[in-house]
Amino acid sequence: MTHIQSHLKTLEDESIYIIREVVSQFQKPVLLFSGGKDSITLARLAQKAFYPAKIPFPFLHIDTGHNFPETIEFRDQLVEELGVELIVRYVQDSIDQKKVQEETGKYASRNSLQTVTLLDAIEEFGFDACMGGARRDEEKSRAKERIFSVRDDFGQWDSKKQRPELFNILNGKIHFGENVRAFPISNWTEEDVWNYIAQEGVGLPTIYFAHNRKLVKRDGAFLAHSDYLNLVDTDEIVETTVRFRTVGDMTCTAAFVSEANTIPDIMFENKSSKSSERGARIDDKRSEAALEQRKKGGYF
């Protein structure tokens, strides 16, 4: 265990340094909180970065309306414990304002609609730095992301114009109207996140652990049964014990059949499965470049 802690400590030191730089270099930072394990880790690091002072920025949650109820319950409990301000903006409002159109059909999801709601929220509050829990090990185009990633007024990411990032020096200078996406846990892997959560004794939404659930079996994957999912004839409704490895919308996050209900069991299972966590994200499977294309358009 002491071995594990030594590299986790290095990662923690680096992340806390980044979070403090964000707070020092920007006027109006915010932490994008999804209720998933990565943003929970980020919340823990923020708490440690400023203790005994309170976390000096609000959390922003873009609520697709298709969240797991367990995640929302956990979110509300955590922000109360930490004493931070929670801002929630709803994709449903963007739909009602006709800014975005609900997708239709079997694979309809609100995942990509979030971008518009997020950009509107950034503009509404004048946020100049948005911290997120993205990690470079998650996906190929994320592997190319800087720690401070400058976005224009439209939230666009230009992979060819990224600023070089050298040593520990973070250049957060931006023009009015631009903002920065900051990724304090860029260098963490999924395994590091699980180890850290175990080490710190941080709580997680219950859906991460094995539980009995009503599911829809589609294309060989299990999706949570919910009112938000457009069912088709070939869908099969089943009930079994599963857990979720990553937490996105109910419509696009696949469950794993699993009995693992402790963190060591989960880590053991993840390791032996050899599959990556984003393998469970149906939205990434649309094409090889799905995530990069969404990011260019301002997706987180």
């Binding site: 290095t10 923690e12 592997a143 400058v150």
Partner: protein
């Protein structure tokens, strides 16, 4: 488990991406999705050997052009060690990314095509590794399968390498390996095709490096932020949040605040709810002083005050990173750690061609990828150490105040 940061570099088509893919594959570290992608792409392209490059070339433009444009970070761990690999492009116009990748690494892997020997890029990359004072450089003579695994070829290239490295004053640990990423020789598994080579495989080299040995350097602490708390438990708590750039400090030590020169005693060192007696290089902590002295962001705490830290004349090596050229006497912002000061690029003393470092030439402007000896004048002290004594406190960037871009990286003399 410890963490080793590696940078890979090489010319276009030297097969860096293939090497990384091979390393992951033979270390049994690929995910099912990656394995499926490799198999699918190999079939689509009609290749005989597995195409590992598809897992690192992450951007659309890279797959279109078949080259690596930007630094990709690859993470994996073996039983013994965690690795972070920064895969930097070898293409000349993206050399700045190589500097970027190398700046956060302890080890550089440079690939050489056995059929071509040392190229301009090889000299450039070795020069950069040397400029950045990387502790270990591994030169992999790749594609040995295409020269019939010839020992003569290996020896000829190794001699060229030794000639190159002997030209520098600083000498890292150097390893020269004959490999084939495509066929898997000497990457993770020892090669049967080269019985004349009895040295280590790449994997063995990387596992045997002693990582993260804290540099023996003086105590430097950048103040990121002042925390002030007033509540029941913490009455009038005032602490300086920051990261120990180098060295160590203990409770009871006397420290000096720069630039004011005021001295005080460390009374508390805190990590979250724990207080500790001593903190070391790299730790993000909160530090409290006995006296209520004026300390704010941009100041630095040291144990031994050195005149040189307060200098406003910096002589340094500078790598130009921007498409826009430098202008004579141009004004920039100089950032080191959390400190930002205004500066003027006073003089370009000489441009150093990395492929031939002895042949200095003059220039009035610096272009993208130029490496030069320069003189910089700052409006306030930047508290820099000599880079060769203290990597983190000796490096700085230049920011163009109009575009806000990072336009240069410097290494203080």
């Amino acid at each position: 488990m410890d963490l080793l940061r590696i940078n890979t570099a090489g010319s276009v088509d030297d097969g860096k991406s293939t090497l990384i893919g091979r390393f992951l594959n033979d270390s049994n570290a690929l995910t099912i999705e990656q394995e499926e992608l490799i198999e699918r792409k190999t079939k689509e392209k009609g290749l005989d050997d597995l195409d590992f490059s598809v897992i690192t070339d992450g951007l659309i433009a890279e797959r279109e052009q078949g080259i690596t444009i930007d630094v990709a970070h690859i993470y994996f761990s073996s039983q013994k060690r965690k690795f972070i690999i920064a895969d930097s492009p070898g293409h000349v116009e993206y050399t700045r990314n190589m500097v970027t990748g190398a700046s956060n690494s302890e080890v550089s892997i440079i690939l050489i095509d056995s059929r071509k020997g040392l190229l301009e890029q090889t000299y450039r990359h070795y020069f950069i590794s040397n400029l950045l004072r990387l502790k270990t450089v591994v030169l992999c003579i790749n594609k040995m399968d295409l020269v019939d695994y010839s020992e003569d070829t290996y020896l000829t290239i190794a001699a060229e390498i030794n000639k190159m490295t002997s030209r520098f004053g600083y000498k890292p640990d150097i390893h020269i390996l004959p490999i084939s990423s495509l066929k898997g020789d000497n990457v993770v598994l020892h090669s049967d095709n080269m019985p004349w080579y009895s040295g280590q495989t790449l994997s063995e080299v990387l596992h045997n490096i002693k990582p993260g040995e804290a540099e023996v350097a003086d105590f430097r602490f950048d103040v990121q932020q002042v925390l002030h708390v007033q509540n029941k438990e913490f009455t009038d708590y005032r602490a300086y949040a920051g990261r120990v750039i180098s060295g160590s400090v203990s409770v009871g030590d006397e420290v000096t605040v720069l630039p004011s020169g005021i001295k005080s005693e460390v009374v508390e060192l805190r990590r979250f709810t724990n207080t500790q007696q001593e903190v070391k290089t790299g730790e993000s902590i909160q530090l409290r002083l006995k006296d209520d002295v004026d300390v704010s962001r941009g100041m630095i705490l040291v144990k031994n005050e050195e005149e040189s830290l307060l200098s406003k004349e910096i002589s340094a090596k500078l790598v130009w990173l921007d498409e826009k050229q430098s202008v004579p006497g141009g004004r920039y912002l100089l950032q080191s750690g959390t400190r930002v000061v205004q500066c003027k690029l006073q003089q370009i003393e000489a441009v150093i061609p990395p492929e031939n470092p002895e042949e200095l030439h003059e220039a009035t402007n610096l272009k993208l990828n130029d490496i030069a000896k320069v003189a910089i004048k700052t409006a306030a002290p930047a508290f820099l150490d000599a880079f060769e004594n203290n990597r983190l406190n000796g490096a700085f960037i230049l920011i163009d105040p109009q575009t806000n871009n990072t336009v240069g990286v410097g290494f203080s003399d």
